[in-house]
Amino acid sequence: MKAEPLATTVDSAEIAKFSGLAGTWWDPTGPMAPLHALNTARIRYLRDQACAHFGRDARATQPLVGLRVLDVGCGAGLLAEPLTRLGASVTGVDASAEAIAAAQRHAEGGGLVIDYQVGGAAAAEGIFDVVVTMEVVEHVPNLDAFVAEAVAPLKADGLFVAATLNRTPKAFALAIVGAEYLLRWLPRGTHDWQKFVRPSELARALRTLDLHVRDVSGATFDAATATFALSRDVDVNYLLSASR
C-alpha cells in the first residue's frame, strides 16, 4: 500500500467539508460570501507586503510580474486568480480534488493560466518567491508539520504570508457564535475554535524554520459596509508575513 504523504498536514473530515462546497466557491452571495468579503483585505495585504519586500510599485498595473507564488490550500482560486492578474506566476495546491477541479474550470473560463495541483505544498514543482496560505492553518491537524512543508520550496530571500483566525474569546464570539450561529453567515461547523492559531504560535513554528515575522495586521469586519479593512486589531482575523 502506498504511503499517505498528507497524513500529518491534512484532516480528511475538513477536506470533505470544503469539497462539498466546491460548486459554490465563486458565488459572492453563496456560502463563501465571507471569503469574498475578506478577499479584498487579503490581496491588499499580500500585494503591499510583497511590493515592500521585493521593492515593487504597488500602484503599477502588474506589480507582481515575474514573481513565482505558491498558494497552499488555494480552494477554487479566489486568491490565485487576482494574484495572476497582478502579474504573478501562480501555483495553487489544495487537498480537495473537487476544489481544484472548480479552480481549473474557473481559470479557464476567465482566460487565466494557473498551475493547479491536488495535494499539499509538496505537490508543487520548483521553488517560489512567495508562499501564501490563507484561511488554512486553522483547519490543519499539525501546525508545525504543515508550516514546515509549506515553506520547504520557499527561496532563501522569499516571503511567507498567512491569514487565519486568532484563538481569543472575541474570535469565538464573532467567528463562531456570530458568523455561524447568529448571522448564519458561515455553515455551522465551518470552524473549530480549538484549532484557531495565535500569532505567537505561528511565529514560533516559523522561527524553528529560521523565518522571522515582519508584520502582523488585523482584518476587521465593518458591519455597516459588510467589508473587511486592514487594522491593528489582531483579535479575530489576522494576517502575518515572515521572511528569513
Binding site: P28, N39, I43, R47, T61, E81, P82, R85, G109, G111
Partner: protein, 390 residues
C-alpha cells in the same frame, strides 16, 4: 457623453476600453444633432478636467453666479447666490451640448481610446465570464464588462432583461437659444409658470439657453408657429428684463419623461446615465447624475483592477449599484415633486409654496442642502469628482 466620460476615465487609468457608437462622429457633432445646453455642476467640471476634456470647454462655459427661482407672478424669490458658498466658486457652468460632445471626441482621439462608429449592435449574450456583442455585419467583440450608456431607450438594458419604470409628463420641453440686448450677469432664472418650469440659462455672450415647458399639445402648436408669432409667444413669457429678445437658431421639442431602471446591473452588464435613469430637466441635474455614475463606475473598476479582482464580477457590480442607487432615487423624487408642486395654479398651493420659497431663503442650513445638490457635492463623492486622480 456619459459613456465617453467613463471611457476617458478608464483609459487614463490604463484600462483597455472600446467605445461603440451608433452615430457617426460627423453626425453627432453637427450643430443640428442636439440643441440643448447642460448645467455642469462644479464637481462635474472637476471630473471633466481630470479626464482632459475641460480645457477645450472653458471658453464655451458660462459660469452661473446666481440662481433665482420665482413662482409665476409672485414677488418671493429664492436666491442661490454663489457668494454664500466657500472660495467664491460658481454653482457650475452652462455649456451647449455640442461643445461638450466635441471636446469629449477630441479628448478620446488624444488619449487613443478605441472607437467603433457608426456600428449597429444586433445582439448581446452574457455568461459567467463575460459579454459578447454581435454587430449587424456578423462580427463580434468579447468583453469582461459591458456598460450600457446608450440613452433612455437603452438597447443594452432591454437585452439584459432589466425592466424600467416611469411615466411621461403631460408636458414637453421646448429648447432654443436666444439672443438678448442686455448682459445676463451670469444669473440663471427658473420660473414656475402654470404650464411648467421656464428656465433661462446664461450662455457666453448676450445669449441664453431656454428650457420652456408647455403642455404637449401647446408645445407642438408653439414650435410650429412662424418666426414672428413664435417670437411673440416667447416675449410674453420671457419679459423684457434683458431688453429685446430674439430666437437664434433652430427650436427643438423634447418629450418630458421620467424613468428609472429596476436595477443598474445584470450579469457582466452595468447601466449608466440616461440608460439607468432620466429626470425631469427642471433642475438641470440629468447629465450631472450621469457623470456621477461614470465617476463611480470608473472608481469601482479601477479599485478592483488594482487588486487583480475581476471588475465585471457580481460583487463589484453590486458595489456600483449600491453606491449610485440612493443618489438617483433622491434626485428623481426631488425634481418630480418640485414639478408637481409648481405646475399647478390652485390658490392654497400657490400661497403655500410662496411661503415655502420665502422660508428656504430664511433658513441658511436648508438652503445649503439645496445648493449642495445644485453644485453636485452632496453625498459620498467618487474621487474624480473631488478633483483627485483615480
Amino acid at each position: 457623453m456619459v459613456g465617453q466620460t467613463l471611457a476617458l476615465a478608464l483609459a487614463g487609468a490604463g484600462v483597455e476600453v472600446t467605445v461603440l457608437e451608433r452615430a457617426a462622429p460627423e453626425a453627432a457633432l453637427a450643430p443640428t444633432f442636439d440643441g440643448r445646453a447642460s448645467a455642469i455642476a462644479y464637481a462635474s467640471a472637476r471630473l471633466l478636467a481630470g479626464i482632459g476634456a475641460w480645457e477645450a470647454l472653458a471658453p464655451h462655459a458660462q459660469p452661473i453666479l446666481d440662481i433665482r427661482v420665482s413662482d409665476g407672478e409672485s414677488l418671493l424669490f429664492l436666491h442661490y447666490d454663489h457668494r454664500e458658498l466657500a472660495a467664491g466658486q460658481p454653482f457650475g457652468h452652462l455649456i451647449e451640448n455640442r461643445h461638450i460632445r466635441f471636446s469629449l471626441f477630441a479628448a478620446m482621439a488624444r488619449a487613443g481610446v478605441r472607437v467603433r462608429a457608426p456600428v449597429e449592435v444586433r445582439g448581446i449574450t452574457t455568461d459567467e465570464f463575460g459579454a459578447t456583442v454581435t454587430f449587424a455585419d456578423g462580427t463580434t467583440v468579447r468583453t469582461r464588462l459591458l456598460v450600457g450608456a446608450d440613452g433612455a431607450r437603452s438597447f443594452v438594458r432591454a437585452q439584459a432583461g432589466i425592466r424600467s419604470r416611469g411615466w411621461e409628463y403631460p408636458q414637453a420641453g421646448i429648447v432654443l437659444t436666444v439672443a438678448h440686448e442686455l448682459d445676463h450677469e451670469g444669473i440663471a432664472h427658473e420660473r414656475f409658470l402654470p404650464s411648467g418650469p421656464f428656465a433661462i440659462l446664461p450662455l457666453p455672450g448676450r445669449r441664453s439657453s431656454l428650457v420652456w415647458t408647455e403642455r404637449r399639445d401647446m408645445a407642438a402648436q408653439i414650435t410650429a408657429l412662424d418666426d414672428e408669432r413664435f417670437a411673440e409667444e416667447l416675449r410674453d413669457r420671457f419679459g423684457d428684463f434683458l431688453g429685446d429678445v430674439q430666437p437664434s437658431g433652430p427650436r427643438w421639442s423634447y418629450p418630458l419623461a421620467f424613468h428609472r431602471a429596476e436595477t443598474y446591473v445584470a450579469q457582466r452588464t452595468a447601466l449608466a446615465g440616461d440608460a439607468a435613469h432620466t429626470l425631469h430637466p427642471l433642475a438641470g441635474q440629468g447629465l450631472n447624475l450621469g457623470l456621477r455614475d461614470a465617476a463611480a463606475l470608473a472608481e469601482v473598476i479601477v479599485d478592483a483592477r488594482r487588486l487583480g479582482l475581476d471588475f465585471g464580477a457580481a460583487d463589484q457590480l453590486a458595489r456600483y449599484e449600491k453606491w449610485r442607487r440612493l443618489d438617483a432615487v433622491a434626485l428623481i423624487a426631488v425634481t418630480d415633486g418640485l414639478n408637481r408642486l409648481f405646475s399647478n395654479d390652485v390658490a392654497p398651493i400657490r400661497l403655500g409654496r410662496d411661503v415655502g420659497l420665502g422660508l428656504v431663503n430664511l433658513l441658511p442650513p436648508l438652503k445649503r442642502v439645496f445648493v449642495g445638490h445644485a453644485r453636485g457635492t452632496s453625498g459620498k463623492l467618487p474621487r474624480l469628482l473631488l478633483g483627485e486622480a483615480l
